[in-house]
Point group: C3
Chain length 673, copies 3
């Protein structure tokens, strides 16, 4: 990337009147230098089957070109025209529990349906052919937040059975044994009469199907990439806007897509990041999603969507839009693109507001974007292509996420549970983030996923033996491993280890366990940590039995009074720490802090949240230090380095007191680095 891209999704087709020129003028004023278009309006481009009209696309590209604004073209396949469903009702997705979807909502088609694929390919070819040669078209987004949408109609299940045949060499006994299907008379002894997988109560089979649905996403994106590649210039990128688990905002690992595998189809990683603002703005979601997306290709990435005003609950406080924008860059983003330019006047996202409100006039948020855009025009060459070299990686896994959905951590006999995989992952990420421990986010699928000094591995419930062996080898060779309860419980088929847990890592941790409980008034005791008298075990606890490891903490109330909570073990050249339970925030914070400083010798920042420090090397080879103030209070920090304060345009001495306004930041460039 040659410059920081600052952009918006732009929907000329949604405008209540033609104001393209006024819009462009306002974009220019705000330093907007790129727009994403075309991904949402298939039915406008093909009003009736085969009847194509891309005049609005042409017009927008033309005018943007004149204005020097770049364009990203999205393939318009995530929302299908009604005539397509009228043509073939099976275009609509069939889902577990709810059956065939009804037309209306986007992202509700069967991405394997032949009719859909035929017509999708045609409209993609028409659109890309018409736009790929344009000078200001810099890249393509394939589809939009692609998933399999739960597709599980008969055709999909038939293909899944073929997939299983491949997986088990056509041997049903092998599958029955691997999945434990004798249980409750669920054996399958005929490939032909494979029961509807949507009814299964077998977590191994169910998780295998969800894994298969993720593979469909990889295939679908690759299929689109292959089409677009026939037209794409060398200098044009391919991307996808990967999104994350949705809890009203981006929250942790995306269950339905393996971002790493899916990203093989594209040339640059992209994502959507939506997050709380106002009093809840912490930067954590920006950092998590950024660290995750940057790690996909170990390179800079694009934020293809983030909020401008968003929903009323997100109307940003003064300076927050600016703080947010820089936060992305500090994580390694080369583009920040708002969803979207103008608020929409009809349909279901009218109050997911863009940079402009419904009246298209300047407003407080737009005016802040003007500040950002103009700062970036000036600082772009300093800020773009920031590189990270983190010592720490957080290890996450789609498979473990799915497994812990089928086998929840704290499932009780009323078949209720409250703790999910992402809860645990985010709890650990939050501790790292708050302590300013920057990390990559990797999965065992990735090449070189253990090439770090420290690995943090929360709740890696299931994986192949090979993965567990790689973790063992990591420690053996000198790595520092921090892992938690529910790690290394089952194999890749979710069969729970019958040779003890942590599976394959008992020597590494110098510990094993075979009982666990939901705590009941259980306190956490330690001579190593100094817990408060009310330090409390929460949610789940494993009763560890050290066998070589050193005990760091114990439980004090039955059934835990027999057993151990936290252990550390020197093994080979490395060290392995295991935390067997969840606990109150204060205790947890102390545990992570002491482990990183004392056990792992990690050089902690002297500041912690709400002061967030992020570092990287810019393309001039200088170290940039971003210091953010995520609070409504003015904060003073001692400068961690000498250098230039880029936004203030002045020199700063090491240890000089720097005052940071509420919801503001300072960027230091240190040329000695």
């Amino acid at each position: 990337m040659e410059e920081i891209l600052y952009g918006v999704a732009y929907y000329y087709e949604y405008l209540p009147y033609d104001r393209l020129k006024e819009d462009i003028e306002m974009m220019k004023k705000a330093g907007i230098n790129v727009v994403r278009i075309a991904e949402s309006t298939w039915s406008t481009y093909e009003k009736n089957p085969g009847d194509f009209d891309f005049s609005t696309v042409d017009l927008v590209i033309d005018e943007m070109e004149k204005a020097g604004i770049k364009v990203i073209i999205g393939t318009p396949t995530y929302a299908v025209p009604s005539w397509l469903v009228d043509m073939d009702a099976e275009v609509m997705v069939t889902r577990k529990g709810s059956g065939r979807a009804i037309y209306g909502m986007r992202q509700s088609m069967d991405i394997t349906n032949e009719t859909y694929l035929y017509h999708a390919e045609r409209v993609i070819r028409k659109l890309i052919e018409r736009t790929a040669y344009r000078a200001n078209v810099i890249g393509f987004q394939l589809d939009n937040e692609t998933k399999a949408y739960g597709t599980s109609g008969k055709n999909v299940q038939k293909a899944f059975v073929e997939h299983l045949k491949g997986l088990f060499d056509g041997d049903l006994d092998k599958m029955n044994a691997a999945y434990g299907l004798d249980y409750w008379s669920n054996r399958i002894d005929s490939w032909e009469n494979f029961p509807d997988v949507n009814g299964t109560i077998n977590g191994s089979l169910g998780a295998a199907f969800e894994e298969y649905q993720r593979l469909l996403v990889d295939d679908f994106l690759q299929w689109q990439a292959d089409i677009v590649n026939e037209y794409r210039r060398e200098d044009q990128f391919l991307t996808q806007n990967f999104d994350f688990e949705w809890r009203g905002y981006s929250y942790g690992v995306q269950p339905e897509v393996n971002h790493y595998k899916a990203s093989k189809a594209i040339t640059i990683a992209g994502c959507d990041i939506y997050h709380p603002t106002q009093d809840q703005l912490t930067g954590k979601e920006i950092a998590f999603c950024g660290d995750s997306t940057r790690s996909l290709k170990k390179d800079n990435y694009l934020v293809l969507e983030t909020e401008a005003q968003g929903f009323p609950q997100w109307t940003p406080f003064r300076n927050q839009l600016l703080l947010q924008a820089y936060s992305h860059l500090a994580s390694g983003a080369n583009m920040v693109m708002y969803w979207h330019w103008h608020s929409i006047h009809n349909a279901c996202e009218s109050y997911w507001r863009g940079l402009l409100s419904h009246d298209f006039k300047e407003n407080g948020t737009y005016r802040e974007a003007v500040t950002v855009g103009n700062e970036w025009k000036e600082l772009s060459s300093k800020l773009v292509n920031l590189k990270k070299h983190n010592k720490v990686a957080l290890v996450v896994s789609n498979e473990a996420l799915t497994a812990l959905k089928w086998f929840p951590v704290d499932l009780n006999a009323a078949f209720q549970s409250s703790i999910t995989y992402n809860d645990i992952v985010l709890a650990y990420y939050t501790q790292l983030y708050n302590l300013n421990i920057e990390c990559d986010i990797v999965t065992p699928d990735m090449e070189g996923w253990t090439d770090y000094e420290i690995l943090v591995v929360p709740a890696l419930y299931s994986a192949s033996d090979e993965t567990y062996q790689e973790l063992a080898a990591f420690v053996e060779k000198g790595g520092k491993l921090l892992s938690t309860f529910k790690t290394a419980v089952a194999n890749e088929h979710l069969k729970i280890s019958y040779e003890g847990t942590p599976k394959g890592l008992q020597e590494t941790f110098g510990m094993q366990y075979n009982q666990f409980a939901i705590p009941s008034k259980t306190r956490l005791m330690s001579e190593y940590f100094t817990f408060e008298p009310d330090a409390e075990v929460q949610g789940f606890m494993e009763l560890l039995e050290p066998d070589g490891a050193t005990v760091l903490a114990t439980y004090d109330h039955a059934p835990g009074d027999r057993d151990v909570a936290i252990t550390v073990n020197e093994h080979g050249k490395g060290k392995a720490i295991y935390i067997g339970c969840m606990m109150d925030d204060k205790s947890f914070n102390q545990v992570i802090l002491k482990i990183f400083t004392e056990q792992f010798d990690y050089p902690l920042s002297e500041y912690a949240f709400p002061i967030i420090v992020k570092k990287g090397i810019n393309q001039s080879g200088n170290e940039l230090t971003y210091i953010f103030n995520y609070s409504e209070t003015e904060m003073a920090v001692a400068s961690p380095t000498e250098g230039t304060s880029l936004r203030e345009k002045r020199s700063v001495a090491k240890d000089e007191s720097l005052v940071i306004n509420p919801w503001d930041l300072i960027i230091l460039e240190n040329e000695q680095q």
Copy 2:
């Protein structure tokens, strides 16, 4: 009406043994002078298709006639016989989400189904023909709490598409533009293959369909009226028991029926009113539903159903049945009819108890009805036909209600919301009620809806330009307008204004806004009002930008620190106040009180809830003043007038101290008025 009617719904057909004569004797003792019969028991009158037997109807009319009790005949069409569904399965309603209903529950047929209409017409004709000539039959109720019941089967949707064709002159581009259907590829470019409207995510289209369903109710009632009118005598009335949104009691505007339009088919407005009692009895629901029903034809109305004992939670405290009965009259009712006479021994409303318990014996509630009935026999000529001349009207709208269901006020990114249209309407009505500001309840559909001194217009989210122009003209000509956030946002197609908000009223209010937020620890500040230090903005806030208006209150916390909360504007000969947010009760109470007294010069009563004062002119031209004590504490008030205390039968001097018992009332008649 010549006298106050005091009545019960009477179900001879449900009796476990024949006790008609005993029942009539007990009715006479209680002053019951009217019964409603026949609306629920089609299957009893027509056990098999075409096999009619109205002997129980004849018998009840005969015996009531002998006893001097009037009869209202209900057409028995809201609950269909099982044989009708056996004959044509499509008689059952098909609903969004749940598909075709299963037989059993009442009010679950498709009111447009031809088989239903054929058989309904036949049973109506048979019944009305047989009863219309009877001397003591004073009127007819058409069907019962009629709605479209969500009917949306293929036939209904086909008719809806024809309706749309008419609305848009057959021009699909016009419809696509009006509804914004380019969004998410939802364009419709063929009338023939119109997608199932139940799947739509387009609020404009969805709301248009709900509007169409309300039209079906109007048509259905008119169709029944036309049939009954063939038999009806001049002196017999037609009515309907309109009901309200149901939250376990009558709560605000009925979403599924436009009462005003539907009431064109009838000659006198009627309604159901159910409300909390015991410690929660406030009279508010009686007043709201009464003001609403009275305003339909600007005339007295009938309470066709209200609770006697009702559910166990409603078993009235001593004197509450009496207090309730008079409360209806004070709102302008000419009839109070209990649902129902005797508690039912089987089926799903057995614990929705009538005046008599299951044992048919006298009980505490019945004994209180005896008091009411005998007082009314004596006071009837003083109380009947009470007329109101209110200066204030509350403006409500089915369209705004539906719009704010599709676009909730406080929708967030988890697609959750908690504030509904009726919440806002009732919040404003409650303030008026508690301050003894009597009002009419009108809609922009009504003739002369702006013919008031003061209009209170909460959250009129969507309306035609004409409506907004009428509001502007109202102020121009001297009217006093109080309006709120989410008023004048969209046009009648729910397209949000792209020319600023409040749409068409920016000059009227001297103010505009284009940003809004969900408040986060935001306080309300004012030099005009004297708010408590903890005065808090709640739920939703618009960031007003005055342009001529005077600021009455501001916000003190970001994002609101830039902006204004409440404005007042002198415009033309009138005055327009805009309240941009919700707030805590105490602040809200002060705001309304100061606006009415200081800004609107409204002569407030010196009493407020739990003392409720209602006035009107009786048929002798005298002013009646009802003073209610809605509390369990004895209260003393200074008499607001000289006159006769009707229930006490004594003269009262102005300012004389009147003592009102717990849950009791005093009625003053002032002949000087």
Copy 3:
């Protein structure tokens, strides 16, 4: 039974590797002397239709025989092979609301489907023929936790209509009258076109259908019994593991099975008992389910399933497994069998853990079982066949439970309710249990159900006139009756009494009522009881009108200020107490304590929960007294008797102070008894 059986469910077929011999060795060490096998794995025994392979059954029986371990064979019919559903889709159950179930979950077949029955009979015959002759096979379990699973497909409804024809002698008028079907036009005037009962809103018809579904369970078990009886030896028993309402543990009366009627098919009563542990272990569920199951045949019973480790929330504290095991014996159990031996490595009950964890190693819980098993080997002859002779019976009823589901106690106008039948039953049982009042649990179906000194009859909402007459006669003849609100309201068709309530018992109680309410700040007042000032009526209250009875307590707040809460009446030779409301725990405890001691002259134990005392006569004719400490605190009690402390093996004098450890017990044998 000749000895106490200590057992486990054993699933050789689920083992991830063959470890039968190791398992048996560990069982022997723990004193396990019986296993239950075969009930879950039909698809393993018949991989394809007609293709039988019982080799694993043979092997397990062989090896157990060698080890001297007994075997119970379960018929494998509760979980069907997928090929059976492939053969006939209607094998899957069709349920109200959700339609045809999808294959996967167990207990989801239509137990009346002919295909199912044909194949079930074949596999039962094959299995029983092969195992019945084996010496160590001591009995058979028919199916598993059998229910009708809500079956209500067309075939079932057709049969139900035939059932109704029989019930009403083919007379539809009789049925319409009995069920009150004139209501809402629900009359049925043709047997041929009977509407789908799943749609009914008529509680009488709905409850009749649920009663019919319970009859299907009786028939199904009898059908299985008849098959097994063709093969069974005299010394082999037939049993069923009856379970209870499930609220994450066994909670009160099973709604879907009439245990008493269903138990006619078997020779010894059996049950599943699951209960909270850790800090929530009270023994109450063990006692309730035990008293209930023992009363079915007035004999000792089998606990066919109870938890070892269970879900993580149930991981027992130290000594709790032992406490639990003895608790069953003290209620009259002759067997305690854990579900199950080893934790399962796949599928949906993996975390419903057995005695062994997934690693098959010894663990804390297993080691405690070793203690239990070895104590029992020694004490078996003293403990087995304990007989009870309780003076008190708690009367429960499936019909009342179903009735109060259709007509909830505290139903309000929002159609919400929170109080269920089992809530009330358990509230009363809890009081008895905590006060150490041992009781039988009977139903009006049973022979001799009134043959007690004291009957406690909570909320017997509906029953036949005969039942009410039997209660009246019980008091007449000298019985002491304690009954509550919602008793004797309706007849067996759920028609509410029109001759007053309590129906048929007004003289017995010297009281009647015809109004009731949900209390609103209502206090309970009494000169007899000494209530706290904050004593509060909760949930529901009837306004009693004594007619001969003595008032024990009254209400102090409207509407209750008119009326009475608790009455006592001397009638005939007996006494009848009626409690008209629910109340706070402290008041309730006092009410029950005073009624039993002062009104009923019941000799209360001087100890109360957490000290639980249970008694019985062992086969030597000696009285055993179990004294349990259900707390984490050491407790001292004065020995209630002289005798031998069996576990301590020492003599104890009367009144000697006995110290009981946390979660521990003492057993005294008194030879003088």
